[in-house]
């Protein structure tokens, strides 16, 4: 089954790395096929930046996403640009301090203050890894272990500990949000 994910934010947030790690988790550690595409402007920092991941049981043909099942959005500009693509019933994950939802947005939304959590670890650079933990916790699109292995095999050895902590923080928060989300939805029913 074809599954599509988009991760977006601004240059410098580690968006492309997060996308590549996501693809790696699915392709290398879950044995599926995955294709990651990168998209950014000529700027080194700032500017719109996004990565897409297509996961499939067999080889991926068309490499781009058309209507993602999951979207992890790290800033408002990306929300404005990509929100319309989200699949009906898709899951929207946002960095809550940097994205203000439209009033009429009725998506299945999960919020996390990823940058603030990262600052608690003394390094906001791991906000992307916290978001990956969050995405895994909420959606379970890959196992906890697969994502963990993908992260730890992609970062420099001296940053492994920091990234491991960041991942766990995001994952736990994701599990919690997931439970809360389920309760929320059953109440609304």
């Amino acid at each position: 089954m074809r599954q599509e994910i988009r991760i977006a934010g601004f240059g410098g947030q580690g968006i492309i790395l997060a996308a590549v790690i996501t693809g790696k988790a699915a392709a290398i550690f879950e044995g599926k096929e995955a294709t990651v595409m990168e998209n950014y402007g000529p700027e080194a920092r700032g500017g719109a930046c996004s990565g897409t991941i297509v996961i499939n049981d067999t080889k991926v043909d068309y490499p781009y996403t058309t209507s993602p099942d999951i979207m992890a959005i790290m800033n408002k500009a990306s929300y404005d640009k990509f929100r319309p693509e989200l699949k009906k019933d898709g899951i929207l994950l946002i960095e809550e301090d940097l994205v203000t939802l439209d009033k009429d947005d009725n998506a299945d939304v999960y919020k996390i203050p990823a940058t603030r959590f990262a600052e608690e670890f003394g390094n906001k650079i791991v906000a992307n890894i916290i978001m990956l933990g969050f995405m895994t916790g909420v959606t379970e699109f890959v196992s906890f272990e697969s994502m963990k292995s993908a992260i730890l095999s992609s970062v420099k050895p001296r940053f492994k500990d920091l990234n491991d902590k960041a991942y766990n923080r995001g994952y736990e928060f994701g599990k919690m949000s997931r439970r809360a989300g389920k309760e929320r939805r059953s109440k609304n029913r």
């Binding site: 995955a34 294709t35 595409m37 402007g41 000529p42 991926v60 043909d61 068309y62 490499p63």
Partner: protein, 381 residues
């Protein structure tokens, strides 16, 4: 020093191409960084110190091309990587490489063109340039990957072709494949098929550097082996010395072309699906072939007898196969990110026997499968 990165990796096309070159035995790189090919040079600059290779960042692409020819004559497998504007600068010396029969590999990652165009976006505008970019009659070989795995695999093929036929070989990548990350499986070094150039078997007194064997390819001594060599872009005799006459020129140029043309069947690689009973066949190459594959599958689902043909080798062009298919299909759909290049070859080979729908894009993005599907509808309507 062995350098093959055996194992399963998650790599971009550019990184995979660099690893393919290293696995093929390339140990000299001269180039000038240019988006979207920069990561090929970057990875090689990091990896070469581990495998005993030499990396030089040159002053420009003209010098880069000459440097890799020189390195090859010194006996080292050499390459460069570039994109459109740099590829234009390389043309003069690419012709020299063909004339002096030098094995070397040029990776050209196509972006939106002409001129500086769209540096960070995809294009496929250098198909004809790869074939006809330098002046005069000559042949090169060009291959075009559509995935990071194939970037690895085809770099090895490209080096093998260049060594076997003593010809510059172009790897026509495109931005989409170059910045795409996928699983890449790199085999054990012993399982790789690596071809090296023929060395002379005669004594130095008897050696003539441009005297071909029966296969039309002369064995290649390298500088320092003890053989006398003379290399020039001027028309030359078997000794390598300039001879300004039609009698010398005619067989030389004919051989430079025929050594590739007569071996076309061994060089041509194509991927086909469901072409046996197809009424319409989509012809594509590089990243576009991935949209084409989705499009042809969609057509089959709707009961249209569609087939899929991907050019892995672009030059020499698979004339015979296209002509054969043209006789029994209603038509071809040619999808490419340019305003008409491969389509001219398909028209030429079809000899008016098949209808042709050209789905052109000027560059900047990949065709959607729907856009290619429209071409199918046009042929079968």
């Amino acid at each position: 020093m062995s350098g093959t990165l055996t194992g399963t990796h998650f790599l971009t096309g550019n990184d995979a191409a660099a690893e393919g070159a290293i696995a093929a035995g390339c140990r000299f790189f001269a180039g000038y960084p240019i988006t979207p090919s920069t990561e090929v040079a970057e990875r090689i600059s990091m990896r070469f110190p581990q495998v005993g290779g030499s990396y030089i960042q040159m002053e420009d692409e003209i010098a880069s091309m000459v440097a890799i020819l020189g390195a090859s004559w010194a006996g080292v497998k050499s390459m460069t990587s570039t994109s459109g504007p740099g590829f234009s600068l390389m043309q003069e010396n690419l012709g020299l490489g063909a004339m002096i029969e030098t094995p070397t590999v040029i990776v050209n990652v196509q972006r939106g063109s002409p001129s500086t165009g769209l540096p960070t976006n995809v294009g496929q505008g250098e198909v004809m340039q790869a074939r006809w970019g330098s002046h005069g009659d000559y042949e090169i070989i060009a291959v075009s990957p559509n995935s990071p795995q194939e970037c690895f695999d085809l770099l090895i093929k490209a080096f093998n072709f260049s060594e076997q036929y003593r010809v510059p070989t172009v790897v026509l990548m495109d931005e989409c494949t170059s910045h795409m990350s996928e699983k890449v499986v790199i085999p054990e070094e012993k399982d790789l098929e690596i071809i090296n150039r023929k060395k002379p078997t005669v004594s130095p007194e008897k050696y003539l550097p441009f005297k071909p064997d029966k296969d039309m390819i002369p064995p290649m001594a390298v500088a320092g082996d003890g053989y006398k060599i003379h290399v020039t872009g001027l028309t030359h005799n078997e000794k390598g010395y300039p001879v300004m006459s039609a009698e010398c020129h005619e067989p030389l140029v004919r051989r430079l072309c025929d050594k590739i043309r007569n071996n076309a069947d061994k060089i041509i690689m194509i991927e086909e699906e469901k072409t046996d009973d197809a009424e319409v066949i989509i012809i594509s190459f590089g990243s576009v072939s991935r949209s084409a594959k989705t499009a042809y599958k969609k057509a089959r689902e709707q009961g249209i007898k569609a087939g899929f043909l991907r050019l892995i080798t672009i030059w020499p062009f698979p004339e015979k196969r296209i002509e054969e298919l043209a006789k029994r299909v209603k038509g071809f759909v040619v999808a490419e990110i340019n305003y008409g290049q491969v389509v001219y070859e398909v028209e030429r080979c079809s000899k008016g026997k098949a209808k042709i729908a050209h789905v052109a894009l000027m560059g900047g993005r990949l065709h959607t499968p729907e856009e290619i599907f429209k071409g199918i509808k046009e042929v079968v309507k």
